[in-house]
């Protein structure tokens, strides 16, 4: 199963608007994607805004993205890029 590790670069971490953007992108990918915090147990469904918010990912936290299915690699690359990008 393809995996990516990303340090979250946005100043707000994975809260508010960045979380919504991430969840929307994960949903649009059309495949199952999970996200977990490195150092914590548990993976959240990346298409679930509540589960993602509940992870309480802060600026600089490292997360693990996993996906399975067609184009999993391409989807993970897009999502990793979204998280790794500092705020525009």
């Amino acid at each position: 199963m393809p995996v990516r590790h990303v340090a979250v670069a946005g100043a707000e971490g994975l809260h508010a608007r960045p979380a919504a953007l991430f969840v929307k992108a994960a949903t649009d990918a059309g495949i199952a994607v999970t996200i977990g915090k490195v150092g914590s147990d548990g993976h959240a469904d990346a298409r679930s805004i509540l589960a993602v918010l509940a992870l309480d990912v802060r600026h600089g936290d490292e997360v693990v993205l996993r996906a399975d299915g067609d184009d999993a690699d391409a989807a993970l690359d897009r999502l990793a890029a979204l998280l790794g990008e500092p705020d525009a």
């Binding site: 508010a16 608007r17 919504a20 929307k24 679930s48 589960a51 509940a54 802060r58």
Partner: protein, 544 residues
Amino acid sequence: MSGVGIGDRAVAGPVVRMGAAVPEPDDVPRTVDVDVESTRAVDALAEVAAELRRRAQHSRDADARDVLEAQAMMAEDPTLRDEITSAVRAGKTAARGIFEAYGRYREMLAAAGPYLAARVADLDDVRQRAVAASLGVTVPGVPSPGYPFVLVATDLAPADTATLDPALVRALITEQGGPTSHTAVLARARDIPAVVGCADAALLVDGDAVLVDPAHSLVVRDPDASLVAAATEVSGSDDAAFAGPGRTADGVAVALLANVGGPDDVGAAVRAGAEGVGLYRTELLFLDADAAPERGAQVQAYQQVFRGFSEGQRVVIRVLDAGADKPLAFLDPQPEPNPALGVRGLRALRAHPRILETQLAAIAEAAKHSAADVWVMAPMVAEPAEASWFRERCQAHGLSVSGVMVEVPSAAMLAPEILAEADFVSIGTNDLAQYALAADRQASGLPTLQDPWHPGLLRLIALVGAAGASAGKPVGVCGEAAADPMLARVLVGLGVTSLSMAPGAIAGVRRSLAAVTFEECRALAGKARAAGSAAQARSAGAAV
């Protein structure tokens, strides 16, 4: 139907009632087939998501749009949906399943700390909507029927009023609340006519035609056309005829100023024809901060406000009024039995002199680079020694015009001695009424004691007005009382020389003062202060 009128314009329109909050659904087993109940849950969530998305699309406010979109996602959340359908399968009703599932996430978010605090409120709102949808009841909150209407509610909370659009909500009626309630403050600030504390409004239903007449504190159900024409014509005067500085009919000047919280309010103040700023609250810079803002950041913020005004216009800036009931982490708040009576305002600043010194230095620097007359003011002064200490600190920073707020009753009674140590005073009627009548501004069920027309407050104001006249120094009012067009006449008659209010209220006050002479103001003041109750004072003040 009678209540407390806010504003002076009369408006007629159809009633749409505020959706009532939905109580926690009972945890009883579902009596309906599992598939039917699951569908009910899923449909409710989809309905809520669609409605929130629709509001997001129609929102002109980018921040509101982001919140609404995030909320729509919360309603469509796949993990949540799965949890809810499982709960229904296990025997819960759709409403209860929704309530509990959101409740679990609510706890998670609440535990995660301040970052997510706002999201908890958003989640609560989504939960309310989803539960309501699953029960088939009106969704709580401000309705948007798609046409201009008169909003009727038991009362309104700040969360409800944040999104009110004056173009659609033509007037407000609340069953509860008084002249200092959130609804009253908001209505004045946005120039939305309102009648609050109107218990009979419980009888109004969606679709009723009403006339809201704040000048007479009345709501008329099913008014006839001639009544509507008469009421709306009288108060619908052409504002252009009343532009210009505040003055009575016989030319006595009463400066009409704006209350502002920061640079964002300056535009509205200038457009409303404010002659300056009577109260610039500096707390917003300090709230939500871990440490007092740096001098440079303060200079920038103050300059942005000062620069909105020109030579000859005053900007009265109040130093940090916090502590106790407005706790700031860096002010090291200690638990107090009565925060409103504790270490707050100037008392908190004396305990943290560096914060005051930095603020005064920043104000002085910002003032140097602007044309406006910058006056500095201290909050919560109770005795002359505090006023003289504050003046000395201001002068040490080159700030030559300093004064104090009169919001503590002792300050009103010691006004002559305080005016010997201050260049001006400004009466904070909200807190002064609170302390004088021993009635918490936020408490419900005490509207007659929170009414700024109360003679117990008016006589204190009279003491300050007289002291100001003897000393030849300005006496301003910056509390909600200043925004009441009828009460403004009484205040002028009591010796008040300037009135500061939310920009939306300026036009109404200007119109009202222009319609009476100074002697008439004094006569009204004499009758109002001699009354034995707020209601009597109001009647006395309405008859010219």
